[in-house]
């Protein structure tokens, strides 16, 4: 009896020692040795760190800090000359002359020249090199000749790029493109040093750039350490000594680390915390309208919903007016969203709240019923409409709310809306690209560069339809196309925006896609972190963050 009691106490003691022991270690690890290195949340990059092969945020945000392009963007999304001294268009914006500044160097000491850009762009365009961003270069002359991978060696150059001297080159485009200078700010347009071409694979593991930071160490699935690049000559301010991206298995675990002060910054808030994160006083929070617009698309040629018929337009408008966007934002998204008023987003130049027909995006049950009745008078319709979305994200509650809202308003008039969840994003996107959708489906857009053109041309021009771009509903309208073409050739930015807004008015009337809300840029930072703000990409401006 006695012996057992002793054994029990021994176990209890050892358990107590184990617990107290780790308590001590937990405390010591939370104090930081080097305070000017910022730690930030990230997921493991899905590709090697080659700018032209990086098309997702895990690698993209790292790439943007390692490479400086011709232009860079400030927090408001305005382009500023970075490596470029000037980018001068000809009259119709079909040819550009690019001059680059003196003194830029890659971190291996080699200079940044005109060729650093032209060779890199040709490399990405060349299909033989299998770079995922190659289609971004399709507007440059000579792109089409570099697409037959079987008959290419990989080092053929784009015929539209001509090097004039060490610091100057010209770019010939297939068609006028007034936003080319902004596009050149996209990561895929980064310059590459000569060493890249010798061994692209090794370069992808340890990239050499000309950006604000240089790569110190990449421990796969663990962390990516960047340190300040003292040779950086650009317009951005680097206020810390480095940024270490920590790779997390889930946003929840990262959030717990921010709460306990083990992680400085994260640019997303887990669904479990959207209700509480702004009130949590153990962290700093950020929540403002961001650049992502959420919409749903109804194929332009779907029976009863055709965008070029009166019936179709009436039904689209009625459906749009039957959605109570504000209560979806408040109740389903817990306020982490902003009701949509146009087809772009509040963080790009050209955003508008009061274009003609923007009342089509306002909740108006009576008008919705009236329009629907008018449409029924034109042609009778059984009212079945499915809403497809991928169920692996967070779309389910939103689409259930939409379906409820439209059924409440238009159910009495014969609309029978239902949800159609699809298991994975992959399956969902495949069904869209194979054009198997027979009802409404979730669409959304995150811009690649901060321009209203990127929200409109890529999604609603007929050149982007039929699988050639992201016009998933195959919307085709000659008037819209004409306005886009004019805007592309217009080098005055105010007139350019006016043309895009004129096109938006047509879109608001015909509703090829129905805008719902702008996803907010939300994020959290640990106590003591200063200068935490998000840019047009909904990403923290890492270089301006400091901590005390």
């Amino acid at each position: 009896m006695k012996k057992k009691a002793i054994a029990l106490t021994a176990i209890a003691c050892s358990l107590g020692m184990m617990l107290s022991g780790c308590g001590g270690s937990g405390d010591s690890s939370s104090s930081n040795a080097s305070s000017s290195i910022i730690t930030a949340y990230n997921s493991e990059p899905q590709n090697a760190l080659i700018p032209g092969d990086t098309n997702e945020t895990g690698g993209g945000r790292v790439g943007q800090m390692l490479f400086s392009n011709l232009v860079s963007f400030n927090a408001k999304g305005d382009a500023e000359m970075e490596v470029a001294e000037s980018i001068t268009p000809n009259d119709d914006a079909s040819q550009y002359t690019v001059k680059i500044k003196d003194g830029w160097k890659f971190t291996d000491g080699t200079p940044v020249t005109a060729e650093s850009f032209t060779k890199a762009w040709s490399y990405v365009s060349n299909a033989k090199n299998a770079q995922k961003c190659s289609s971004f270069f399709s507007m440059i002359k000579g792109y089409d000749e570099l697409q037959d991978a079987d008959n290419l060696k990989g080092d053929e150059q784009l015929s539209g790029l001509t090097v004039k001297d060490d610091k100057t080159f010209t770019v010939d485009l297939n068609t006028p493109d007034s936003v080319f200078p902004i596009k050149a700010g996209y990561l895929a347009f980064a310059p590459l040093p000569e060493s890249f071409y010798k061994d692209p694979k090794a370069f992808g593991e340890k990239p050499v750039g000309n950006g604000m930071y240089k790569l110190d160490k990449w421990d796969h699935n663990s962390q990516i350490a960047l340190v300040k690049n003292d040779d950086y000559k650009g317009v951005q301010q680097v206020k810390n000594d480095g940024v270490t991206f920590k790779i997390y298995t889930s946003v929840d675990s990262a959030f717990a680390d921010v709460q306990s002060g083990n992680l400085d910054v994260m640019d997303t808030v887990p669904a479990s915390a959207t209700k509480t994160f702004e009130k949590d006083d153990s962290i700093e929070s950020y929540n403002k309208a961001g650049s992502v617009i959420q919409t749903f698309t109804i194929p332009a040629e779907l029976d009863h919903w055709k965008t070029n018929t009166e019936e179709g337009q009436l039904r689209r408008q009625a459906l749009s007016m039957a959605i109570d966007r504000q209560s979806i934002v408040d109740k389903v998204l817990n306020g982490v969203g902003t009701v949509a008023t146009d087809f772009s987003s509040p963080v790009v130049p050209g955003y508008s709240k009061d274009l003609d027909h923007s009342d089509n995006l306002q909740y108006n049950p009576d008008k919705a019923k009236e329009l629907w009745k008018k449409a029924n008078a034109i042609s009778s319709y059984d009212g079945n409409l499915t809403f497809s979305f991928n169920a692996d994200g967070s779309a389910q509650p939103v689409y259930e709310a939409i379906v409820n809202s439209v059924n409440n308003v238009l159910g009495s008039e014969g609309l029978k809306a239902t949800t159609n969840p699809m298991p994975t994003l992959q399956e969902f996107r495949n069904a869209i690209s194979d054009r198997q959708m027979t009802g409404a489906f979730r669409t959304g857009w995150q811009p690649d560069y901060p321009s209203i053109e990127n929200y409109l041309y890529q999604l609603y021009d007929s050149a982007a339809a039929d699988g050639k771009g992201s016009n998933d509903g195959d919307y085709k309208n000659a008037d819209v196309d004409k306005l886009f073409t004019e805007a592309m050739a217009c080098t005055n930015s105010d007139e350019q925006i006016k043309l895009y807004q004129d096109a938006e008015v047509i879109l608001l009337q015909q509703l090829p896609a129905i805008p719902l809300y702008y996803s907010n840029a939300d994020g959290v930072a640990a106590k003591g972190v200063q200068g935490f703000a998000m840019d047009w990409q909904n990403q923290p401006i890492y270089n301006e963050i400091t901590k005390s």
């Binding site: 029990l8 184990m18 780790c22 995922k132 997390y248 929840d252 680390d257 306990s260 050639k468």
Partner: protein, 308 residues
């Protein structure tokens, strides 16, 4: 004995081959095109997509793909992930972490499960028996992710006794809470298993005989009751070690542990057949070997069991 071992080891070959074929087929049958998915919602450049498909043999029919995988696997080349990392390296990074976590969880559940179970079984009806029973019932009924999140919030974020997350290359303290969370459900089962075995063995004739012969209480407990009660417990533990190695997906996500469970989950999402099949094959081997060890242990526990 030797012959028996040899037979068991030879049996592994068809098991492993069958698993690879089955899992490869399952990943192949996953809906969606992994190459298209790499482009996200951006336009797919078909010339580039074709190159990527050719690089990963995704343009070939199923059996050719499978045979190519097997051929390479025989020379220990398990291929590359879509991000260009050798599969073997990724597994080499993740597996040691999972082994550490699984072993810690295993020791935790075995030690506390058996100790509390035996105490409970020997002292049936006492107040601490009731407490142990209630706690074990609680642990069985609460899902792991709840235990995990609550533990993380209370002991990590609020009280700061234990590290909140494990991070890369975690040590003993970083893995302590995850291991306890991971092992808690199995511990509860072991408690109940050990308790019922012990309490039924206590009343058996041979125990009474041993006591009547004047044996001390300790040797009766250890040499007769415990040894006879352990066979089902060891069987359960053996099965569980295999499960712990592969089934820590939820715990690994909560505590940011870059182990096999998380790697498997990610690879399934990306449709990386090479990775999924390599991991599952490895786990199958672990499982089969664990089972073999358990069978060997039976002989040590119960002299009546002999292998021929």
């Amino acid at each position: 004995m030797g012959k028996y071992l040899l037979r068991r080891i030879l049996q592994m070959i068809p098991v492993v081959l069958g698993t690879t074929l089955l899992v490869y087929a399952l990943v192949f049958a996953l809906p969606g095109d992994p190459v298209k998915a790499m482009f996200g919602d951006k336009p797919v450049n078909e010339a580039v997509a074709a190159q990527i498909r050719a690089e990963y043999n995704l343009d070939k029919p199923f059996f050719i793909q499978y045979l190519l995988f097997l051929k390479n696997a025989l020379s220990l080349n398990f291929g590359q992930t879509f991000s260009g990392q050798p599969v073997i390296e990724e597994i080499g990074r993740a597996f040691p972490v999972t082994i550490r976590l699984a072993l810690m969880a295993f020791v935790f559940e075995a030690l506390f499960g058996v100790v509390f179970g035996v105490i409970s079984g020997l002292k049936k009806g006492k107040w601490y028996d009731s407490v142990i029973l209630i706690v074990s019932l609680l642990l069985i009924s609460v899902p792991t992710f709840v235990t995990g999140f609550v533990g993380q919030y209370v002991f990590g974020v609020k009280l700061r006794w234990l590290p909140v997350t494990a991070g890369s290359n975690p040590g003993f303290f970083e893995l302590l809470m995850p291991a306890m969370v991971l092992g808690s459900v199995s511990m509860a089962y072991i408690i109940r298993l050990a308790r019922s075995e012990v309490s039924s063995n206590v009343a058996l004739d041979y125990v009474r005989t041993a006591r009547a012969k004047g044996m001390s209480n300790t040797s009766v407990t250890f040499r007769h009751i415990l040894r006879n009660s352990m066979i089902p417990v060891v069987t359960y533990l053996g099965q569980d070690l295999g499960a712990l190695m592969g089934g820590a997906m939820i715990t690994e996500q909560i505590f940011n542990i870059h182990g096999i469970g998380y790697l498997t989950y990610q690879s399934i999402l990306k449709g990386e057949a090479n990775m999924v099949v390599s991991i599952v094959t490895l786990l199958t081997l672990v499982f089969v070997i664990c089972n073999l060890l358990v069978d060997m242990l039976y002989a040590a526990l119960d002299p009546r069991i002999r292998y021929a």
